[in-house]
Amino acid sequence: MKEETPIQSPKRRDFLKTTAVVAGMTVAPGVLLHSFSQVNAADAGKPVDQPVTDAVRWGMLIDTAQCSDGCNDCINACKAEHGLTESVRPEIAPQWIRKVGLKDKLTGKTYSLPVLCQHCENPPCADVCPTGASFKRADGVVLVDRHICIGCRYCMMACPYKARSLVHETLEGQRPHSPRGKGTVEGCNLCVHRIDHGHLPACVEACQTTGHQAMLFGNLKDPNSDIAKKLSQVQSTALRPDMRLNPGVRYQGL
């Protein structure tokens, strides 16, 4: 019996070694990927497996002095990101973000600025929605749940900024991260699929890429964020401030 043992021991060791190597090769990529996702999640300040909280309020500051008249990069980026296509008639085309040219009636000063869902603290669209499909996330992002939107368009009637559209036509080329559906209402979602993973909204990223730096995005509740610091230094305003909706989107120089 004693003589046989040395013969069997190396075999068992080999087997254990081989098993360990195979198991390691199988599990390691998963562990590696998991650690990558954790890194991305950490950038957003929220692990992906946890719900959003009101510790964050996402907001945007648009500097009208930096927004170039004729530049539509933010709009094009939005269209590409969410798969928004042209419509047969412009009146029915979905608009998540649009450029507007303004002229002060008194002074004659002109402005160019993008207008999107203003992500109000007290959104009228969510107030009037009969099914609760229009809702505000804890972090201030106003969204439409396409699964329970019945297409009544009451939110479109209620929105003071005309920031919502009904999908009037059959859709093609939808993006998995941006669910859309004929007969339901949609609007800017601040690229939740991006910001939840620590990335900027597509429009902000495009604006920064072109070097205009007209759009600043960040956490309004974090006093150390760039947007909070800038808001504390410069004069900014909301669209229709008389309605006291406290939008998350602010305009500088308007």
Partner: protein
């Protein structure tokens, strides 16, 4: 001794009856065809856009909903205000209240972007929304009026009849307040954002409801050869004139208020002076045809003695009501939102620079809207065939002295 009123069901074998059923069925089929196409192709085939969000279907739907709550007034006058003169007409009044409401709600539902999600609307609620409250108000109204009708028709329940009448009357006031508030709560739209819309809609419902009721009554009696006395038409006609005056009062206050508020001068100028079709429909459709003409037909001694003048006045009130709703609902959206006060919009990718948003109603919308009348007519005719809603005689002598309070 109490004078018993004898009711009867429709024989249901006349060419007129089958003609009505056939016409209603055709309207319903056309409406369903329109709805199928709107569902299949999307709202792109309609005249509604991202600027004019609500269109013709909503005008027909709101007309029918207002008429439904208003038509119940005939029964309410009988049981709440104890004007027994109206008692013989109460059953028809309750029936029309239900059928007109079903017609209006059907149009509203079939216009939804996702009508297949009706079950979602009936199960997922946001109680801050006046729309949600209206879902309860509409369904509750149908249930309460059905019970009211049951108490009316069932001798054993007769003692509860006044209570049911009172509940139905109060409910209908709340319901029309809710319908008006759908617009009244829209803070961003200058044409809408006012609490005046609740009493305006209530008064409009009373005049439209009575106009629809008198037309249906005259047509029914003509078709069934039921004697209809001039006396029994005289009082509702006079009351209808008062309701027309009430609508005018609220419309006047609404516009005077807006004219007083500097920020609303733009929308007022648009509706009253420079709005094209909306200005025309306001002055001619609503004011001349829908208000002045019926008041002349009702109160001017030269006209107000004939049945033809009652029919003409009722038709004018309906035309005026639809005109007013068109001006209000479409005109209120055609005038652009003021997102940038003090600024002139020089360019926009989404029609912010438009002086007025254009709207051309499509035939699909009109087909869907009119089908609401078809649904109401079909349900009314079938109900009258099954249950006794109409008195055998409405001749002045047959109605009896206790009904002439």
């Amino acid at each position: 001794m109490k004078h018993a009123i004898s009711y009867h069901t429709l024989a249901g074998n006349s060419p007129g009856f089958y003609g009505l059923l056939g016409a209603a069925a055709v309207l319903i089929l056309l409406g369903l065809f329109a709805s199928y196409n709107m569902e299949h192709h999307g709202h792109t085939i309609t005249g509604m856009t991202n600027q004019i969000v609500w269109g013709m279907p909503h005008i027909f739907a709101i007309f029918l909903i207002l008429a439904a709550s208003g038509v119940l007034n005939v029964a309410s006058i009988s049981s709440v205000f104890r004007k027994t003169f109206y008692h013989p007409l109460a059953r028809l009044s309750g029936l029309l209240a239900i059928t007109l409401l079903i017609g209006g709600l059907s149009v509203l539902v079939l216009d939804l972007g996702r009508p297949d999600r009706l079950v979602v609307a009936m199960t997922a609620y946001n109680f801050k929304s006046i729309f949600t409250w209206n879902i309860f108000l509409y369904n509750g109204f149908m249930l309460i009026v059905a019970i009211y009708l049951w108490f009316m028709m069932e001798r054993r329940m007769e003692r509860y009849y006044p209570i049911a009448g009172m509940v139905a009357f109060l409910w209908r006031l709340v319901l029309t307040t809710g319908t008006g508030s759908i617009f009244g709560f829209l803070i961003a739209r200058e044409a809408y954002n006012t609490a005046l819309l609740a009493p305006l809609f209530i008064s409009l419902s009373l005049s439209l409801g009575l106009a629809v009721f008198l037309l249906v009554l005259i047509i029914d009696c003509w078709e069934t050869h039921c004697p209809l006395g001039e006396g029994i038409l005289h009082r509702p006609k006079t009351l209808m004139g008062i309701f027309v005056g009430a609508v005018f009062y609220f419309v006047l206050v609404y516009h005077l208020t807006n004219l007083y508020i500097t920020g609303r001068h733009g929308v007022e100028y648009f509706i009253l002076v420079g709005g094209g079709i909306y200005t025309f429909l306001f002055w001619v459709g609503y004011l001349v045809v829908g208000t002045i003409l019926p008041l002349l037909l009702i109160y001017y001694p030269k006209f107000n003695q004939t049945r033809a003048s009652i029919i003409a006045a009722s038709v004018c009130i309906i035309v005026g009501g639809i005109s007013l709703l068109y001006v209000f609902i479409i005109g209120g959206q055609a005038y652009p939102l003021q997102i940038f006060p003090g600024m002139e919009v020089t360019a926009s990718g989404f029609f912010d620079d438009a002086k007025v948003h254009t709207y051309i109603p499509s035939h699909w919308e009109i087909m869907l809207g009119i089908s609401g009348f078809g649904i109401a007519a079909l349900l009314t005719a079938m109900a009258m065939k099954i249950l006794p809603f109409l008195p055998r005689s409405l001749a002045d002598a047959a109605v009896g002295p206790e009904f002439t309070d």
